[in-house]
Amino acid sequence: MKSTSLPAALLALSSGLVLLCAAVALWRRTAKGIVGALRVQGFALAVTALILGVQLHIALLLVTAGLLVLVKAILIPVLLRRIVRLDPTGGETDPVVNVPASLVAAVLLTLVAFVATRPLVDVVPGVPITLAPFGFATVLIGFFVLVARRKAVSQMVGLLLVDNGIGLVALLLTTGVPLLVELGGTLDVLLVVVVLRVLATRMHAELGDLDLGALQELHD
């Protein structure tokens, strides 16, 4: 990039915000704060789609942006709110990895994402693709949350971070997959959240809390 145009700068800002929200989700201790971070991340994703759509004159991306706002910034946070009510602290009482160490890990994972996606950026240069590592880093932080956190809420957040990261990669790499696939994928994520919500409610009724550490009977 020799000179940075305004749309390119905005694009960098919105996709950077997606990654920043992942770090915030890692740092906040209350379930409410974490869900808030996810909501902002959903908006950032939609704004990214909007900027790309306007810049490249792709009308379908505007539809995608609307879909993203509806599902990721409105519906999913509403669905999560109920679980937040069941488990208001939501924070890890005894996290496997504590918060400062988690943030260091997030920084390292971001570096890994930039190194690992080099071949991709080299093969197909262009402004959106140079931003794709933001998405890959979000995916890796999501995996980290899944491995290192044991509360039901944290695991759902981990899954959603992975999903949002992939959504960002898809937008930046290919300016959006075909709408039919986008619709199917978004609907699937929504259904997974609904299913997990039902399971979490049953878990709360059965165990009295939402700590997966208490569910350790099946293993070899």
Binding site: P119, L120, V123, V124, V139, F143, L146, A152, Q155, L159, V162, D163, I166, V169, A170, L173, T174, V177, P178, L180, V181, G184, G185, D188, L191, V192, V195, L196, V198, L199, R202, M203, E206, L207, L212, L215, Q216, E217, L218, D220
Partner: protein
């Protein structure tokens, strides 16, 4: 049109169940729908040997020889599972294990599950395929948790989280492959079409395809139950109701493997054979060795059967790595044979839950003297799974090994045979203890009703028949293998 009929039949059965509400005869609707799917699958497969593939729904659905064969596999196993569900639900409702509302939920979900698997194999497009396989996870999660116990809850949570992670990786792989296709001149849905991708594979950028294939195999490998994302499988298979375990182990794993078979053709044409083969051999051998070692330490019949599934999937993944016509014909026959033997065994384990209240091998010992007909079926089912002739698993395992040797993978075939020997010894020991140990005090002695025996004996008979006769599957198998030969 056929593809729509095939997917529509179980959907219709689900809809009918949902509208009518719970009735005792309701599970029979599912049996009828699945049997019709099987018949349509056969008709399409037999005419497809001579005809071009059939497309429908603006090219998003297509039936070629391989899809038609997969419809036959799904149809066969789902008929057995639906048949077993009749007994399962009848007992479950009568004993108060589930309310009529739960039974209704089960009837609807199990047919939706079959429909999503059929959609996955009829999809002409890797995007639709992804949506369908993700949908199988959603429909099965509540089926795994049907019993609503603490363990069932843990198993379903683990299942949906691990499989969603896997499927997310597969989506990333799909997106990366789409990027390669866009740069090779593909547009929109067209660029996600199997035939377009296969025809233009040489034009795809190899370094991007390499990344995509790795993500796709890792992601769909989670649904196949391959290492490293396999840990959901023993929990889900042991906690789910028996007919659901039969469907998951018998066909769901194979449907995910089907996706990998198709992607391998594209990867080989783009980056050459060495890389896809190395990825598949590594995952196949790791799964085989891990599963056979863990099989030794099992105390529960259903968990042992689950690890045996990972082992058999490892065998098939190795044949997929070899990739010649011989190895692939063996692989496809093994899919069907394994599906039949596993469903018979899982359904028998379900009967054991009903009669003895447990599937623990030591608590249900002496089955042969207590319930001779059920014991006989379990014995024959284990013999089929261990690869004794006349059952088809014998001939398919021999064919796969011959195919691997022909593809210069003799060293890997030898490792797989060692793992197979360990698994053989472990399963044979578990089987001997279950069937011939001294009678457990308090163990139920009973005559197993004919209605319960019917699906079990049918499954065994089919598994024996396809092991002995090349008719009618021979030409169908060869045509199906040709589609993914690379």
């Amino acid at each position: 049109m056929w593809a729509v009929v095939i997917i529509g039949l179980p959907l219709l059965a689900a809809l009918l169940s949902a509208v009518v509400g719970w009735r005792r005869w309701m599970p029979w609707i599912g049996v009828g729908a699945d049997a019709s799917v099987l018949m349509v699958g056969f008709v399409v497969a037999l005419r497809d040997v001579h005809h071009a593939p059939i497309s429908w729904a603006a090219g998003t659905l297509r039936l070629d020889s391989l899809s038609a064969f997969m419809v036959i596999v799904i149809g066969t196993v789902s008929v057995l599972a639906a048949w077993g569900s009749v007994r399962f639900l009848d007992h479950d409702v009568r004993s108060g294990g589930s309310t009529t509302r739960h039974a209704l939920q089960y009837s609807v979900l199990i047919q939706l599950f079959v429909a999503t698997m059929l959609l996955a194999v009829c999809a002409a497009n890797i995007g639709i395929l992804w949506v369908a396989i993700e949908a199988t996870t959603i429909t099965t999660t509540f089926l795994v948790g049907h019993r609503r116990t603490r363990n069932a809850l843990e198993a379903s949570w683990k299942y949906i989280v691990i499989c969603s992670v896997g499927i997310a990786l597969a989506f990333l792989g799909t997106v990366v492959l789409y990027l390669a296709a866009e740069h090779a001149g593909g547009t929109s849905l067209h660029a996600l079409d199997w035939t377009w991708l296969t025809a233009h594979a040489h034009a795809l950028d190899p370094s991007i395809v390499r990344m995509a294939f790795g993500l796709l195999v890792l992601g769909y490998g989670a649904k196949v139950g391959l290492v490293p994302l396999h840990s959901w499988l023993p929990d889900a298979h042991s906690q789910a109701p028996a007919p659901v375990s039969a469907l998951m182990s018998g066909v769901l794993l194979s449907v995910a493997l089907y996706a990998i078979l198709r992607f391998k053709v594209i990867a080989v044409a783009s980056v050459g054979g060495a890389y896809p083969r190395a990825v598949l051999v590594a995952m196949a051998l790791a799964s085989l060795v891990l599963a056979s070692l863990l099989l030794v330490t099992q105390h529960d019949l259903k968990r042992a059967l689950a690890y045996s599934s990972t082992e058999h999937m490892g065998l098939m993944a190795l044949a997929a790595a070899a990739g010649g016509p011989l190895a692939l014909t063996g692989l496809l026959l093994h899919m069907l044979g394994h599906g039949l033997a596993k469903s018979v065994l899982f359904l028998s384990a379900g009967e054991l839950v009903i009669s003895d209240g447990t599937t623990s091998i030591s608590d249900a010992g002496g089955l042969m003297s207590r319930q001779p007909s059920l014991g006989g079926v379990v014995g024959l089912g284990l013999a089929a799974l261990l690869g004794f002739p006349p059952f088809s698993l014998f001939i398919s395992e021999v064919t796969m090994v011959r195919g691997e040797v022909a593809a210069h993978l003799a060293w890997a075939a030898i490792i797989s045979l060692v793992a197979l020997a360990i698994a053989f010894a472990a399963l044979a020991t578990h089987g001997r203890r279950l069937l011939f140990d001294a009678k457990v005090p308090g163990g139920a002695s009973a005559r197993t009703p004919v209605s319960v025996m019917a699906p079990l004996v049918t499954g065994l008979a089919l598994c024996g028949f396809i092991g002995l006769s090349a008719w009618p599957l021979g030409p169908i198998l060869r045509a199906a293998a040709r589609v993914v030969t690379s």
